[in-house]
Structures are given as C-alpha cells and as structure tokens.
C-alpha cells in the first residue's frame, strides 16, 4: 500500500483565477460577435468602410496605458508607493483619453454618413467597438475605486492582488482592442 504524499501546491490566487475565467467569458462574447460579422460580410448588401482616424490615436493611447499599468505594478512590488500612485494616475488618465478618442471616432464616422442604421456593416462597428469601450469604462471605474483607496489615509492596503487584477484586466482590454482593430481592418 503506497503512503500518500500531499504536496504543497503553488496555487494561483482565487480572485485572479476568477478574473481569468471571466476573461474567457468575455472572449466568447466577442468571438460570437466577430463570427456573426464574418457570416454577415459574405451576404448581400455589405458595405466596406475605412476606420475613423481617431481610432489610431486610441490604439497609441491604450498601448501606452498598458505600459504605465505594467510599470505601476512593478513599482508596487518594490513598495515605491509614490511612483506607483503617479503611474496609476497616468493609466487612469490614458484610459479616459481612450474613451474620448473613441467618441471622437464614432462622431467622425457618423458625420461621414455612416450612421448606426444606414447599413448592417456600420451597425456592427458601433456595437463591437462600443461594447469594447464599455469594458474599458468598467476598468476605469475599477481603477478609480482602487485609486481612491490608495490615496485615502485611512485604509492602506498592501496586498498586491487588486493591483495585479487591474493590471491583468487592463492588458486584456488592450489586447482585445488590438485584435478588434486588426479584425476590422482585415475583414471589411
């Protein structure tokens, strides 16, 4: 009879794991939408279009913000709190700028006659890009809540988990944006 050996496990934190499963779930949602887009594109009445230029600024902004959030996480690890706060604030600001550039992009698109109702292809752009923006807003809200906590004198949280959660989520919406951008350019 073998004696059992119970090995100590290096387990991932449950909240982080929850986030990863949640990301899987969001991926499925966008997979559903982008597959619907592909199916629709091969049917009659599809109109090709070019993306608004503001979306290129969005891309630069969100890539930058991914860098700042990464540096913020690194600063937190070595307990450089003032640097961490500055970088977090920068990320938050970049997140807000991203939303603004998205709105500008939609405006640009709308004014060129490509309104929500004009054609299914435009409708798809509004829904897909809009839903991504909603996910970015979610990240911004989470970041505001966390920043308020970090700046308040009362509660000093030294757990790195929330920072890592925000950072992972933020990288995810960044990658999702890049995927959507490439998708919308390649398949139009």
């Amino acid at each position: 009879m073998e004696k059992e050996v119970i090995k100590p496990k290096n387990k991932i934190h449950p909240h982080k794991f929850t986030l990863w499963v949640g990301i899987g779930s969001i991926v499925m949602m966008f997979a559903g939408l982008t597959s619907a887009y592909i199916v629709k594109r091969n049917q009659a009445g599809w109109v090709s279009y070019n993306l608004p230029t503001a979306f290129w600024y969005s891309t630069i902004v969100i890539l930058l913000s991914s860098l700042t959030v990464h540096l913020a996480e690194k600063a937190f690890k070595v307990r450089q709190m003032s640097k961490y706060r500055k970088l977090m604030a920068a990320t938050l600001l970049l997140g807000l700028i991203f939303i603004v550039t998205q709105v500008i992009g939609f405006n640009e698109f709308w004014k060129m006659g490509m309104t929500l109702q004009a054609n299914v292809s435009f409708s798809f752009l509004y829904v897909i890009v809009g839903l991504h923006a909603v996910h970015v807003v979610g990240g911004v809200v989470a970041m505001i809540v966390m920043s308020l906590k970090a700046f308040s004198q009362k509660s000093r949280s030294y757990s790195i988990v929330p920072v890592q959660l925000i950072s992972t989520y933020w990288h995810f919406v960044d990658i999702l944006w890049v995927y959507l951008l490439i998708f919308l350019i390649m398949i139009k």
Partner: protein, 600 residues
C-alpha cells in the same frame, strides 16, 4: 518565490475572512437576506426556483385546458385573467404567451438557476472541503441578479400587451418588431432585459463555481477524488461561462434592432401591409447565435442531474460507482460535443446539406458518452444492496427517463428524419422527457437526498413515495402519446387542432394528456407542501450521517454554521466511493488509508 508567499498569505486572508465572519453576530438581514453563506444562497435559489416552477407549471395546466378542448369555455378563468380569457375562452395571443413563458421559466429560471444555482452553491464547498465559495460577495450578487431578473420577468406578466409570446427561442422577426404581435411589444423588451440580468447572474455564479473547485479544495482532495456531483457541476459551469456570453451578444443585437433601428436580423419585411425600412439583416444569424448557447444550455440543465444521480445511485446501492474515470471522461466528451452540434436545431433553415451531415455525425456521437453513462449507472445498480429511499427512486427514474428520451434524440439527430419531425409533438415529447422531466427528477433526487443537510430535518417519506409514483407514471403517460401525435405530423405551438381534418382524431388523446397533466401538477403540490412543512415540522435529523455516505458534507455538524466546520477542515485520504470494501459498509473520505487496506 515572493509572489508565491504573497499568494499564500492572500489565500489565508480569504479563508481567514470567511472563518472570521462566523463569529460575527449576524442580523436577520445578513443571515437570511443579503447572506454571503453559500448554504443560505443555495436555499434562496431553491425556494425562488420552486416559486417559479409553480408558476411555470400552472401555465402548462392552463394551456393544456385549451388543448383538451379548443371550444370549451372556463368562466372562472375570466375572473383571474380578465381580457386574456374573454368569456372564459383562452385567447390565442394569451395561449402563445403561456407557452413562451412556460418554456422560458422552466428552462432558465427553474432548471438552470433553480437546479445548478441550488446544488452548485450548496454542494461545492461542502463536498470539496472549503469554508465558502472563492468569492462569497460575487456569489451573493449572483443570487440578487437572479432575483432582479425574476422581478423583471414577473412584471412582464402584468403589462397590458402581455409578456413575450414569440416562443422561448425568441426568433426574429417576431421578437424584433414591436408591430409583429402584442407580445412583441414591451413584454419582449422586459424579457430581454430580464435575460441580460439572468446571464450576469449565471456568469457570476459560474466564475465562482469553477474557481472554487479548482482552487479551494481541501488537503488531499485531488481532482480524481472529487465526487461526480462536483465534476458534473464543474463542467456545467464551464458550459455556462462559455456559452451564455454568446447569447448575450445575440440579445444585444436584438435590443439594437428593436430599439435603435438597426437591421441585424431583419430584411424585406411587410407587417400588415406596411413595408418595414429594415434591410440587409438575416434572421438565421440569430438562430446561430441563439443555438450556440441553446444547445449547451440543454447540458447545463442535464449535467447537474447526471452528477447527483451518479452520487445517489452509488450511495444507495452501497457500491462504488462503476467506471469513475469513464464517467468523468464522458462528462468531458459531452461538454466538448455540446458546443459542436447547435445547427441540428436548424436543419430546416436551408442549411447546406453537407454542413447538415457534419452536424448529424457530431450529434450522433453524443450517443457514445451518453451510453457509457447509462451502462455505468446500470452496472452500479447491478447486484447492489439497494435502499429504495425517495432520492434513490428519483435517481433511478432519472436513468429511465434519460434512456427513453435519449433514444428519440437519435431519431431527431438525423437530418433526413428531422425534416419530417421538426416542430412536431415528437420534438416536444423528446425534449420534455430527456431534458425537462429527467432534470426535474435529478432536482428532486437532490432535494430528497440533501434536505437533511440543508434544514436538519427529514421529509415525510410516504408523501415522497406518492409524489414519485404519480410523477413517473404521469410523465410517461403525458409524453409517450405525444410521440405518436408528432409522427402523424401534429405541429407544436398550434392553438386549435380541431380546425384540421388530419388532427381532429387526436382530440381524445389530447384530452387524456391534459387530465394527466393536471394530476401530475397536483402531485407536485404534494412535494411543495412536504417541503415547506418539513422545513419547520419535519422529523429532526439525529445522526451526522443519515445515509451513511462517504462525502465530506456529512462530517459537518447537523446544522453547519457559516464556515461549515467548527474546527479544522477535514483532510481527504481516499475517493468518495469506498462502499462495501474490506468487509466494511462504507469508509468516509476523511478516514486515513489503513496499512492492510486493499486498493479500490
């Protein structure tokens, strides 16, 4: 290394928090209403589910009244339903609302939220040895989103134009154009908003179940030592987390079509002589998005019932489950295949016949893991020392229904046959037996088996047996004849069959089915009475382990508090199916392996 330490401390924080809460003075509100205790949340899901089951069941009784005799009037109905039953005659619009809401309520609110919401919450922490879910907070939110969804769906029943009435599958254009029917107006919007809340609830629940199972197992509880209930609930959660978002995206597009003038699903439609402006959309696109969830949904409903039946069959046969790994493997195979067969709901949509044949093949492949499971259940029963407890009766009933309903699935999975049988009563009979009634049997088996753990009291046995026999005999009497009606071409969703020469002769049979349906509904009330009476007045449980089962939930106190175990969480040393081993009737999972013990 440093992250590892951080992770460990964080994990201790999580455990510590849960344990700490146990000592807090809990008020009525934190204990019974905004509870974060998984056991209380499970009970909330169960009781909300029972209320919905009553409403959904009642709806079926009302539309069976119509089918029993299309020309009859029931003056008492007008008192309750007003203009929906003018002069005691059920109106056609109302009939469609009834069947739509019956489907919606039973599929989503009862057999998804009521079944996996209840048992995933209740059993996962207790059976894997955790103090609570990975995130008790998200868990609480999951219930309250479900509650919100329930309130919205309930309110849609009372709006003037009536609730959604385009069928539970809400195909456009009926669901996309307010002009299409009275049920396509505000009732449909409420349906969509309610379902969006429901999806959020399912996702929050699912995230928690998966994380808890993978991360919070007690020492020694390796994956291959988990009870099959947990495996089934795990795969259920995976299915939900991956398929519900696709329904959500489909529903969002539908909301845009309804309220913002887009044309994702609409093209060239004329309603009452008026040409609609929508162009370029495709109704078939919705069906793809819907069934990509819709088919996994069938297994979201069925897998928990399979898992619980496996556990209950083994415990009450006093024998190890036959083929544990094959059971896990077949659950896995079903989960994968569930995502690859959605188009078998769409054989008559003009689907490319070659594509159709691929879906036929994949659909028929599901018969393989299903047959493995049936074989293993039967071999578990074979020569067992069977105790016919009410839970066991329902678990055996589940196997019976799964076989009967599964076999007709092989008919319907063939596109050549499906072209004839599509949208007939044959389909109704098939999915009611295999998914509806079978899962209900799993649900009942679970409630009868774990009621002592939930409430510290026993249910009344006599009432339970009466409930079982009426339900199983009644279920077959209701749905068996429907196969013949379907083979004869009788279509589903029709309000009045007496208008067709070819279906007139089924009048008597329809009447018979309706009478039985009424009886079966009455028998369910026996269960409801038994359930609520026993919560307060049932015979008290006096032993920790009334069924002599091996799993960890029976090592907790008779009425466990928040945190489940007053002391340390027990360690696990064996799989959960050591029954009739080395001359011992059962050996619980927390008993260390003896030196001279044989292998299982």
């Amino acid at each position: 290394m440093s992250t590892a330490i951080l992770n460990q401390t964080a994990q201790q924080e999580v455990h510590g928090e849960a344990h700490h809460e146990h000592h807090h003075q809990e008020t009525f509100i934190t204990k019974y209403i905004f509870s974060q205790d998984h056991k209380m949340i499970a009970k909330q899901f169960l009781i909300t589910g029972i209320i919905w089951a009553f409403i959904g069941g009642l709806f079926s009784v009302v539309f069976r009244l119509q089918l029993a005799d299309p020309n009859a009037t029931y003056p008492f109905l007008e008192d309750f339903l007003g203009h929906w039953a003018k002069g005691g005659k059920i109106q056609p619009e109302f009939y469609y609302a009834l069947v739509t809401m019956h489907g919606t309520i039973l599929v989503f609110f009862v057999l998804t939220a009521g079944l996996s919401g209840t048992f995933a919450n209740f059993l996962i922490p207790l059976q894997i040895g955790a103090r609570d879910m990975a995130s008790p907070m998200l868990n609480m939110l999951s219930y309250w989103f479900f509650f919100l969804a329930s309130v919205i769906m309930m309110s849609s029943l009372f709006v003037q134009t009536g609730p959604a009435s385009g069928g539970w599958t809400i195909y456009p254009p009926l669901s996309a154009l307010g002009e299409a029917s009275s049920g396509s107006k505000i009732g449909m919007d409420l349906w969509l908003v309610s379902m969006a809340m429901f999806i959020v609830s399912s996702l929050l629940g699912g995230l928690n179940y998966i994380t808890t199972i993978l991360n919070m197992r007690t020492k020694g509880m390796s994956m291959t030592r988990m009870p099959l209930t947990i495996w089934a609930l795990f795969f259920t959660a995976v299915l939900g987390v991956l398929s519900f978002p696709v329904l959500l995206s489909g529903a969002i597009l539908l909301l845009f079509d309804r309220n913002l003038g887009t044309s994702f699903y609409l093209s060239d439609i004329v309603v009452a002589g008026k040409i609609m402006p929508n162009e370029g959309g495709s109704a078939i696109l919705f069906q793809h998005l819907f069934w990509f969830l819709g088919h996994p949904e069938v297994y979201i409903i069925l897998l928990p019932a399979m898992g619980m039946s496996s556990e209950i069959l083994s415990v009450n046969s006093r024998k190890p489950i036959f083929g544990y790994m094959a059971m896990v493997g077949s659950l896995f195979a079903i989960t994968i295949l569930a995502f690859l067969v959605w188009a078998h709901h769409m054989f008559v949509t003009g689907l490319n016949p070659f594509l159709g044949s691929v879906f036929v093949l994949l659909t028929l492949l599901i018969a393989v893991p299903s047959a493995i499971k049936v074989f293993n259940w039967l071999t578990t029963l074979w020569r067992g020392n069977i105790r016919f407890t009410p839970a066991m009766m329902f678990a055996i009933g589940f196997v019976s229904l799964f076989i009967s309903g599964g076999l007709t699935g092989i008919f319907l999975g063939n596109s050549a046959l499906d072209i004839h049988l599509h949208d007939t009563y044959f389909v109704i009979a098939h999915f009611h037996i295999v998914m509806g009634v079978a899962s209900f049997f799993g649900l009942y088996a679970g409630v009868y088996h774990w009621f002592p753990k939930m409430f510290g009291r026993h249910l009344n046995n006599t009432l339970s047996y009466v409930h079982f026999w009426i339900t199983i005999v009644g279920a077959y009497l209701i749905f068996w004849p429907m196969h013949y009606e379907g083979l004869a071409g009788m279509p589903r969703r029709y309000y009045d069959f007496s208008n067709w020469e070819s279906f007139k002769n089924f009048g008597g049979l329809n009447q018979f089915i309706s009478i039985i349906a009424l009886l079966v509904f009455a028998a369910q009330l026996l269960f409801v009475i038994n359930f609520f009476y026993s919560i307060w007045k049932g015979r008290k449980v006096t032993t920790l382990n009334p069924w002599n089962a091996n799993t960890l939930e029976w090592t907790t106190p008779i009425r466990p508090g928040h945190g489940n175990w007053p002391g340390d969480i027990p360690e696990v040393h064996r799989w959960p199916y050591d029954y009739a081993k080395d001359g011992k009737d059962f050996i619980p999972q927390n008993v260390p392996v003896g030196d001279d013990e044989s292998k299982h």
